[in-house]
């Protein structure tokens, strides 16, 4: 299990990195935290002609709050996000989800941009990005493209990012204070990718649920925004009955697959169970409750 040979470049600026990517015309790969790419290289399941290692591009690592949006550089480590006070106070949903990403030594290296670009449908970050209606910034020769989740995730492990583009920034709108949130998931062992994970965000006006966001990870080829279930909550309010109705609807909306860890039917069932659990938890947290 040793990587096949590759050329290796360590640019210090995004421009330089882009130039390398262009040079290889789709045959090069960006190396960020390496926590998904390195196993693929070691198994020789990925054999790029070159690696463009972006770990020395200092400008890609930051967490900034600006006009109600949290901007995170693509290279921001999961560990830094987990520890960040700004994230904890502004986007506790992201903090909660981060603790579920693999294990501590994985998060030391793993980056938010890498997780999104890798686009594993069972991963936490793609679901969080979708739930927060965030955006990613892709930079290429032709400049920047700003992509919404539905424009970004295409299918399993596939995004609309071009081979000579780099994901540079993740923009996550900060929900108004008093919102409810939760990330709940079911995995076989601690630290494993989720069989099903549910991200919930509840925006309230008074006692009314102004907006509900429900996203399922692991239950389809891309993070599944469960609009039909959200509508039930927005229409019927935040009651146990509407939670149950929304959870049942969520289970109908997802399109999971079967694999060795879970049948499609079980994943569908888990979608209902965890939607319900996440909704209850999120509702309890509205207006700072626990």
């Amino acid at each position: 299990m040793k990587p096949a040979p590759f050329e290796y470049h360590v640019p210090t600026t995004v421009e330089e990195a882009l130039a390398h990517l262009r040079h290889y015309g789709g045959e090069a790969k960006v190396l960020a935290g390496g926590q998904s790419l390195m196993p693929l290289l070691n198994f020789r399941l990925s054999r790029p002609a070159a690696l463009v290692d972006i770990n020395r591009i200092g400008a890609l690592s930051y967490i900034e709050e600006e006009n109600g949006t949290l901007r995170l550089g693509a290279l921001t480590r999961q560990r830094a996000i987990e520890r960040s006070d700004v994230v904890r106070s502004r986007l506790p949903l992201l903090t909660e989800a981060t603790a579920l990403v693999g294990h501590l030594p994985i998060r030391t290296r793993g980056t938010i941009g890498g997780s999104l670009a890798h686009a594993d449908p069972s991963a936490e970050y793609p679901a969080v990005l979708t739930a927060l209606e965030g955006q990613v910034v892709a930079r290429g020769a032709g400049g920047e493209r700003i992509l919404r989740p539905e424009e970004f995730f295409r299918t399993y492990l596939t995004t609309t990012l071009g081979p000579d583009e780099i994901l540079t920034e993740v923009r996550l709108p900060i929900p108004p204070p008093g919102s409810g949130w939760a990330f709940e998931e079911f995995s076989r062992r601690h630290g494993d990718f989720a069989l099903v994970g549910i991200a919930v965000l509840l925006l309230v006006e008074g006692t009314r649920c102004a907006k509900a966001r429900l996203v399922a990870a692991g239950a389809g080829p891309v993070p599944a925004r469960l609009r039909g279930a959200e509508e039930i909550l927005e229409r019927d309010g935040l009651t146990e009955q509407s939670f149950e109705a929304a959870a049942a609807r969520a289970a109908e909306l997802v399109e999971p697959d079967s694999d060795i860890h879970a049948s499609a039917a079980f994943r569908r069932h888990l979608t209902r169970v965890f939607t319900l659990r996440a909704l209850r938890k999120a509702a309890r947290r509205i207006h700072g409750g626990h």
């Binding site: 040979p5 520890r83 030594p105 630290g191």
Partner: protein, 160 residues
């Protein structure tokens, strides 16, 4: 640039130099080029944790890093844990509480626990279990390891 290149780094406090092909894994560099065979290889895909070392003070899988990426970094391996012949409190506790049998997972366990206790000096048992779930052990059933980390935590807190 696929050819070998020179790297400089600090390992266990001492400056080291290497001449490595870019594809060489950090763990292979540590073991083969530096001769520090205390760091072990158990899976080469990030799951078992036997290869865990501290890179700039943080636990990381050395099988998921290239040696060239460690250029300029400070790496701590299990060989660097004991100071001047005195075992690190975690090493002492593992010895005392039977936290190892074959010892193959032990370097990764120690370094993961070391980093974890820096972040969380007074962990609960459940938190210890979660942190240690980063490293697989097939001998101990984890019981002795958990006890050892519980025992070392207050000692490390006091030492600060």
């Amino acid at each position: 640039m696929a050819g070998p290149r020179t790297i400089h780094l600090t390992v266990n406090g001492a400056p080291r130099e290497g001449w490595v092909e870019p594809r060489k894994l950090l763990v292979d560099f540590i073991r083969e080029d530096l001769g520090l065979t205390g760091t072990h290889v158990g899976c080469e895909h990030g799951i078992c944790g036997a290869c865990t070392v501290l890179v700039n003070g943080e636990a990381a899988r050395s099988c998921l890093m290239l040696a060239v990426q460690a250029a300029g970094a400070e790496v701590l391996t299990v060989e660097g844990l004991a100071r001047d012949g005195t075992l690190h409190p975690l090493q002492e506790a593992f010895w005392e509480h039977h936290g190892l049998q074959c010892g193959f997972c032990t370097p990764g366990m120690l370094l993961t626990a070391c980093d974890f206790l820096k972040d969380n000096p007074s962990p609960t048992e459940a938190e210890i279990r979660e942190a240690l779930s980063a490293v697989l052990c097939r001998c101990t059933g984890y019981q002795g390891i958990i006890k050892a980390v519980q025992a070392a935590a207050p000692k490390l807190r006091d030492a600060r």
